[in-house]
Symmetry: C2
Amino acid sequence: MPVLEREIGRFQTFLQGQGLKLTSERASLVREIFATHYHFEADELLFKMKEKSVKISRATIYRTLELLVKSGMVRRVHLGEDHYHYEHVSGNSHHDHLICTTCGAVIEFHDSTLEARQREICERKRFTPTFHNLQILGICESCSKKGELPDAPDRVKMIQLGALQLRK
Amino acid sequence: MPVLEREIGRFQTFLQGQGLKLTSERASLVREIFATHYHFEADELLFKMKEKSVKISRATIYRTLELLVKSGMVRRVHLGEDHYHYEHVSGNSHHDHLICTTCGAVIEFHDSTLEARQREICERKRFTPTFHNLQILGICESCSKKGELPDAPDRVKMIQLGALQLRK
DNA sequence: CCAGCAATTGAGACTCAGTCGCAACTCATG
DNA sequence: CATGAGTTGCGACTGAGTCTCAATTGCTGG
């Protein structure tokens, strides 16, 4: 997997710039994270590493995630639950999320018109934007076909309440 | 304060519709929440009630906030920290947030062009939106005048890391 | 107007994500 | 081969939010 090794190299460069070291624990985490093309939680990562018999502590996972976020290779996202999710930043593709409140599906999208408008708003408010985070909650195509619509308003409230347990 | 009493009435109507009761605790919380024209945390509310010698437990605060979110009178927002903030929904004015990563200021805005574009994106993805949440992080006008700009990228990462303690 | 019961409350135990302190360890460098 | 900066795992800790349960309160029908 040459891509994974390249990411490990990127991380190493970042670490060295900070006077830090690339350890085997950090390398396996990067490998795992960049092999997962989806949002994940810190504890999921811990579990997966255990599954693969890679011995690594929770503290190290959190510490490494922090470094990866600092390096810009991973970002933290809010997905409607009351704790963080993470996703790796593949190249430079910023995107936002449509979150289905019925089945928990997360659909990524990028729209430059939207982003341009955001910049206009910031300009008008004399605000210098550096980062943003947009989640649109609603019902995905397959759920609305299944007629899950009537339940929607309650589900949104549930996600607002943080009560929705996605993928569980 | 006739406005506050009207909100209490709205809440009572909602509660009665659910076979629930308006208690003095719930009424004082609504009064406090709608007197605060800003985002707040659950524990802030607890503290303020203690200050005013209104005896109310933490469990009740959380339970009442849940009911208020269900009723649509209050919404839960993410403001870059690792726990929720709440704000009352005044009338029907939906808005999003510009969050200054230097001073912690939160600027509200509403832009119908932006919202229209979001609806277009959803249509294209055959997604039925019901709610959304947009935070733009950056530097507010007064902070950039003070020349706080160079620090910005780090601050964004800090907020991404959840390490930034706003207003504390 | 009051009995009765469902809804509500407070207190404190609990959960769970995330953090911290610390002793043990690694490993490059002098 | 000693030094020391950086790293690790462990387990204790924190803090937001939830749950349980016994005691209490507010509404409603008689």
